[in-house]
């Protein structure tokens, strides 16, 4: 179970991982579209009034392409024999945990709670924030932290397997690649919308 959740890249072939990743990406794009969510970067999701299925798929393609590209350059820097397919499956499969986040926005729960809380944004009204709005946001925040940890662990394990990376240097290079992929994907999604 531990291998399946955190280290599938060590056990399963690239064909199986690629098929799983592509199917998960399509399902993820469908979920984000149906639940009015939008990934606007590798590490950033927002809630919107409306998005199209085409836009959701395009956002996923941009994010996963940026992630694959920067992780590939980073992996090549560490290990010259890194294969692109291993990095692509790392990006596709590594991103799967993040597709669970939109589930919190069923019936626009998080979007409505956020908008309601913003009405109490001034310091004198801060102690009057309704608990029914605060609770889903706190739960969503805690769940998001766990999911991001899972995403980073899964992606790093895939990166490590693809590039035979070891030690602190690999962690630093991976971290830089992840941040750059996040920045570039945010810029691209902003300009392509």
């Amino acid at each position: 179970m531990k291998t399946l959740l955190f280290k599938p890249f060590e056990k399963y072939s690239e064909q199986k991982l690629l098929i799983t990743g592509v199917i998960a990406t399509l399902i993820g794009a469908l979920i984000t579209y149906l639940l009015n969510c939008k990934f606007i970067g590798v590490l950033k999701m927002t809630f919107v009034d409306y998005t199209s299925i085409g836009q959701s798929i395009l956002d996923s393609i941009i994010i996963l392409s940026c992630l694959s590209l920067f992780l590939f350059f980073a992996a090549k820097y560490i290990y010259k024999n890194t294969r692109l397919i291993d990095i692509i499956v790392t990006a596709l499969v590594g991103f799967i945990p993040l597709y669970t986040l939109p589930i919190f926005n069923i019936n626009d729960t998080i979007k409505i709670a956020t908008e309601n809380i913003l009405k109490y944004s001034s310091p004198e009204l801060a102690n009057q924030i309704p608990l029914e709005n605060l609770t889903p946001l706190i739960l969503f925040g805690l769940f998001t932290i766990l999911i991001i940890i899972w995403f980073i662990t899964l992606s790093y394990n895939g990166f490590k397997t693809a590039s035979n990376a070891k030690g602190t240097k690999a962690m630093v290079v991976f971290g830089i690649a992840l941040i750059l992929a996040d920045i570039v994907s945010r810029v691209l999604i902003h300009y392509l919308n």
Binding site: F9, E10, K11, S13, E14, D86, T161, N164
Partner: protein, 99 residues
């Protein structure tokens, strides 16, 4: 082929490092099991024998699959990059032992 593999698994583990000071061991005596001739001296162990049992088994499997990492990955139920990484790690160990 399976029989050879099984025999390898049943073989006694050859110690390659001194249990006391951890330095590499050398062969100091060889004997003929037929006529009991004994040769004494100081012979270094071949590099491959200085690897761990697990690494030696890996190299043996590598030869048996004609050097196909894909076949090895399927046989070991591991992914291709995992098997390739293992081979790279063994190559690094061999290079370190050679130097």
């Amino acid at each position: 082929m399976h029989r050879i593999t099984n025999l390898l698994h049943q073989m006694k583990k050859l110690p390659v490092n001194c249990p006391s000071c951890e330095n590499p061991l050398v062969v100091s005596q060889l004997s003929c099991s037929e006529c009991e001739t004994v040769i004494s001296g100081s012979y270094s162990l071949p590099v491959l024998l200085q690897l761990s049992k697990e690494d030696q088994d890996f190299i043996f499997e590598f030869i048996l699959t004609s050097g196909s990492l894909k076949k090895m990955a399927a046989k070991m139920e591991k992914s291709y990059p995992t098997v390739r990484n293992k081979l790279d790690d063994i190559l690094e160990k061999i290079n370190n032992l050679k130097n």
